[in-house]
Symmetry: D2
Subunit: 144 residues, 4 copies
Amino acid sequence: MSKAASPAPEFTTHEEVMFFDTDVGGVVHNIAYLRMIETCRTKLAATMGMKLSDMAETGLFPVVVRTEIDYRRPAKLGDELEIHGRLEQLNGVKFWCAFTVRRKGDTENLITCRQALAMVQMPEGRPQRLPADWKDRWTTDSKS
Amino acid sequence: MSKAASPAPEFTTHEEVMFFDTDVGGVVHNIAYLRMIETCRTKLAATMGMKLSDMAETGLFPVVVRTEIDYRRPAKLGDELEIHGRLEQLNGVKFWCAFTVRRKGDTENLITCRQALAMVQMPEGRPQRLPADWKDRWTTDSKS
Amino acid sequence: MSKAASPAPEFTTHEEVMFFDTDVGGVVHNIAYLRMIETCRTKLAATMGMKLSDMAETGLFPVVVRTEIDYRRPAKLGDELEIHGRLEQLNGVKFWCAFTVRRKGDTENLITCRQALAMVQMPEGRPQRLPADWKDRWTTDSKS
Amino acid sequence: MSKAASPAPEFTTHEEVMFFDTDVGGVVHNIAYLRMIETCRTKLAATMGMKLSDMAETGLFPVVVRTEIDYRRPAKLGDELEIHGRLEQLNGVKFWCAFTVRRKGDTENLITCRQALAMVQMPEGRPQRLPADWKDRWTTDSKS
């Protein structure tokens, strides 16, 4: 890691819980959080140089290869949520992002989540190496 | 219409209402029915010769250009639903399908829906003529 | 309509097209627009006095009873969309909202949509009268 | 574990990949598998005595508290998938289910997934003990 490395990139998005996010149990459905996390992850990726508008043309996509998500407390209709994501680790051809979902202004985690991604060239589905400069650009828990 | 025309193609699919179909109002969310209808429409299209496995290769897709849907009575968690679709009308470059959603074994419509589709060549997005033999093959409310 | 009636309420929301909005045809899936429209409709309803946070408690929900949607041109991954909604008509126990989806800063409609809603008391599912003051508050194409 | 314990309950569901399951990358979107897994899990739960039609009335729901999912190979439009679920482990107030997604008749896993669930009394959100007889009824990797 170079001396000039920046802190790991992070990004926060905001969502108001809509009807389509909820289920008959009265709270947000477990799958709906993953859509919110994808929006956060996409904006985080854009700050790292991966633009959506480029991807459809180049066919080089960041692809989720593993998700771990813990549902700690439920969110409800109308809640204003903050989804926070950050680059956590570079690990060979994979990079890990970590997310939390909280109510706005609150410090309690409703959701914690980690996702591993790989850069994949579509339509062949061939994993690509991560850009060589990533591990020098940002301070992460990188493994060599 | 030729003398040998068959009745319009139709298809029935079955769905059990899952949590992800419902919302905090206690009933099926309005958007969820459109997913059920797409499944029925896709199976109906297969009987008409449009196979999913061909589409990704040829890039020729039946594309929804208009949906009209009436929500008459709500379905609930665990309901067993029958989605019935049929080819209703051929109209220039468009064809219309009509759908009902009912509880299994019931005659009351929960949902009625009509969708107009066009055959579109992707990625250019160019609408194609409907296959010439369609109006001879099936008895529909076709307009010339 | 009273002389003091305000223009019909309207609201604009913004969405960036995510992967989960798209399908293998390379464009936004037809159902995804309805989620964007629901978000716009919910914010529009809030300006009219219907707050999400109240609904779960009172059980009085604005329920979609009919949707008409025309898919005119497709949006693509990464597009920045503006969804514009306005109260269009009061009609007995129903009110109609009209929506357009456009690319940011563009004047061409990708999507036009109208939805009729009723105020429904859940869990009984009993439609309620619209608030008596609505037709005096706003200038709409109201039918008596 | 009693001598009379049965093998752990398992269930297999079938899905044909629809347009709404896919994204612009040309394959099934990562979130769509979780909907398929929920359908399998719900049918598996029914075999264990948890019926959807009872839940809305009793307010006692099996709630996902953790998901771990590995995306190994992508499924494509029109693929016929088999989702296999089984009760894997009883662990205090939680039970774990394990899932695989494969193409019909194939032995290669596209997706592997584990989910921990708790029985929660809604709307209070209070976790309940698992039924006392579960650990005697089925042979699982139960921890005391």
